[in-house]
């Protein structure tokens, strides 16, 4: 398993929803290796500010191209949104461990909360290629359609009910639960911690295996700084989000 650091040409960097940008870059070395749930560490400025790279899940892969979905939340993402098509940015990856697709899996539930939707399109594509049925649920505060085919066939849940189910994304799964096939089911979730906890509780009760992609502040992103600990469920130790995760079996870690 090797990690690349490449200067990748940006071929798209546009707003696709109110708070979401889509970044597409030519990154053959990373594209060749990456699998869903892994992330890349992007240097958003060549001038030293911000100092550290920013981690983003890979949302899209097609041949030698990888794509990211991101939210503008601070200086790093603001600077990233200003990168022009044709410019090059330094991308390090693929990093971390991605989602596991068990051999027996027949139906996969994909739950995204807010920008936590990011890793799911790539995962969904992979699942579908393997012939696994996928149901994708996306929860957000309010409606704000995505101008992107990546997001076809999605069950929406909005806090204000302005689109789809009114309520959170886990509740929207619950709402459809009777119609969701129960055999060889597995759930995958990515989003803010309260959502992940809700998903943990829900699927634990239903006895459905759940994998979660968690976040943490990171310095290195590949296991050398020990900056990204998460409590292990079965011992007093810490796991590292960047190296042991960011995808964990939801029973492995304490949120």
């Amino acid at each position: 398993m090797s990690v690349c650091i490449d200067n990748c040409e940006v071929i798209e960097n546009s707003q696709v929803a109110e708070n979401i940008y889509f970044l597409k870059t030519v990154a053959p070395n990373i594209a060749r290796e990456v699998y869903p749930g892994q992330f890349c560490n992007i240097l958003v400025s060549d001038y030293g500010t911000p100092l550290l790279r920013r981690p983003f899940s890979v949302a899209f892969r097609e041949k030698n191209i990888i794509g990211f979905l991101y939210d503008i939340v601070g200086m790093g993402t603001e600077l990233l949104s200003k990168v022009d098509v044709g410019e090059k940015i330094s991308i390090e990856g693929p990093l971390g461990n991605g989602f596991n697709i068990d051999g027996s899996l027949e139906v996969a539930l994909l739950l995204g909360g807010g920008i936590g939707i990011a890793p799911l399109p790539f995962l969904r594509e992979k699942l579908q290629k393997r012939g696994i049925n996928t149901l994708t649920f996306w929860g957000s505060k309010t409606s704000g359609k995505l101008n992107l085919s990546l997001f076809d066939n999605i069950y929406f849940a909005t806090d204000d009910g302005s689109e789809g189910f009114q309520g959170n994304v886990v509740e929207s799964v619950g709402n459809l639960w009777s119609s969701i096939s129960h055999a060889n089911l597995k759930a995958y979730a990515c989003g803010p911690t309260p959502m992940l906890i809700a998903a943990q509780n829900f699927f634990q009760e239903k006895n459905v295996p759940l994998e979660i992609s968690v976040e943490s502040r990171m310095a290195c992103g590949f296991g050398i700084c020990q900056g990204c600990p998460i409590k292990s469920a079965d011992s007093d130790e810490y796991k590292l989000v960047c190296k042991d995760g960011p995808v964990f079996n939801s029973k492995e870690v304490v949120l």
């Binding site: 398993m1 090797s2 990690v3 650091i5 240097l43 030293g48 500010t49 911000p50 100092l51 550290l52 790279r53 330094s90 390090e92 943490s216 502040r217 990171m218 310095a219 290195c220 992103g221 590949f222 296991g223 050398i224 700084c225 020990q226 900056g227 990204c228 600990p229 998460i230 409590k231 007093d236 130790e237 810490y238 190296k243």
Partner: protein, 305 residues
């Protein structure tokens, strides 16, 4: 164009070049070896090892600041035994010079660590972390107390013939006194500097950004301070100095060497660009060539004040 000699000596330790990877910023070499060719660097310095494993501080452990970062990892490490069993075999294999960094919470623990490790061939030198500001009983107390630092050095010196490097704390008024003290006790070199004590608060929760309350500041922000400490020691004390603090380019490395460093360590910059050490080595080589310097040792402390 003739070849430039980049090899340097720190006490009896010969390094193929003066560029080392700093403790705590390369783990035990394994992860970073997937990105950078560790056989090219002068040396790698292990994450601080203590006698018993330490799980480290609870999160958040890090926080980014202007041109720097705070960390309070809490000396998380797998402990001496697992280090020897699990990491030494890998380090043996990769054919790079390994310096073992040791952190401890008592004089005895320091001594015991060095005793247990001194015969491991892969370990070519010891760097003694007396300055880590994160763990109360092993950090500030020793590092800022000149008598403690002196005592640790004199305790460890007879235990091993391998080069003994004392890593000094910058959180002190006169670092040269510390350098002088450890020189008198027979240390082969000092590393300067470890991180500066810093903190940050979330103004909405009014909690510290780092669970440990304070952390160690590293990165380009501290480079001017580190450079001044290196110069301070270099001007007054006759002991090799290993410069560390904010080095992010070959120019930075050259600056430290000019200011008196016999070698340098790269820390935080590894997180941003794990290949940085290779770039620094190549940059130093080209610089020496361009400046007509055939031996990098001629650059050491070559400042004109």
């Amino acid at each position: 164009m003739s070849d430039v000699n980049l090899s340097v000596k720190i006490g009896s330790l010969e390094l193929k070049n003066p560029v080392m990877l700093a403790s705590g910023t390369v783990g035990y070499g394994e992860e970073i070896s997937r990105i950078v060719d560790l056989t090219q660097v002068g040396a790698i310095i292990t994450k601080s090892i203590s006698l018993e494993p330490r799980k480290g501080n609870p999160p958040e452990r890090i926080w980014e600041t202007s041109s720097g970062m705070l960390n309070a990892i809490g000396l998380a490490n797998i402990g001496l035994k697992r280090f020897v069993d699990e990491k030494i075999p890998f380090l043996e294999k990769i054919n790079t010079t390994v310096i073992c960094n040791i952190a401890a919470s008592s004089f005895d623990e320091y001594a015991e660590c060095v005793k247990s490790l001194k015969d491991i061939e892969t370990i070519k030198a010891f760097e003694i972390n007396v300055s880590c500001p994160n763990v109360k009983d092993g950090g500030l107390l020793f590092g800022n107390d000149i008598n403690a630092v002196r005592e640790i050095t004199s305790l460890l010196r007879p235990i091993t013939d391998k080069p003994l490097i004392i890593k000094l704390s910058p959180n002190t008024a006169s670092i040269k006194d510390f350098a002088q003290a450890v020189k008198e006790e027979g240390a082969d070199a000092v590393s300067a500097i470890n991180t500066l004590v810093g903190t940050a608060f979330n103004i909405y929760t009014r909690k510290p950004r780092i669970k440990n309350i304070t952390g160690g500041l590293s990165g380009p922000a501290i480079k001017p301070v580190a450079l001044a400490k290196v110069l301070e020691i270099s001007r007054d004390v006759d002991i090799p100095v290993i410069g560390v603090g904010g080095i992010s380019s070959w120019e930075d490395a050259a600056e430290f060497i000019i200011a008196g460093a016999s070698a340098v360590q790269i820390g935080t910059a590894n997180f941003v660009n794990p290949k940085i050490s290779e770039e620094v080595i190549e940059g130093l080589r080209s610089y020496c060539t361009a400046m007509n310097i055939s031996d990098i040792n001629d650059l050491v402390a070559s400042y004109t004040l």
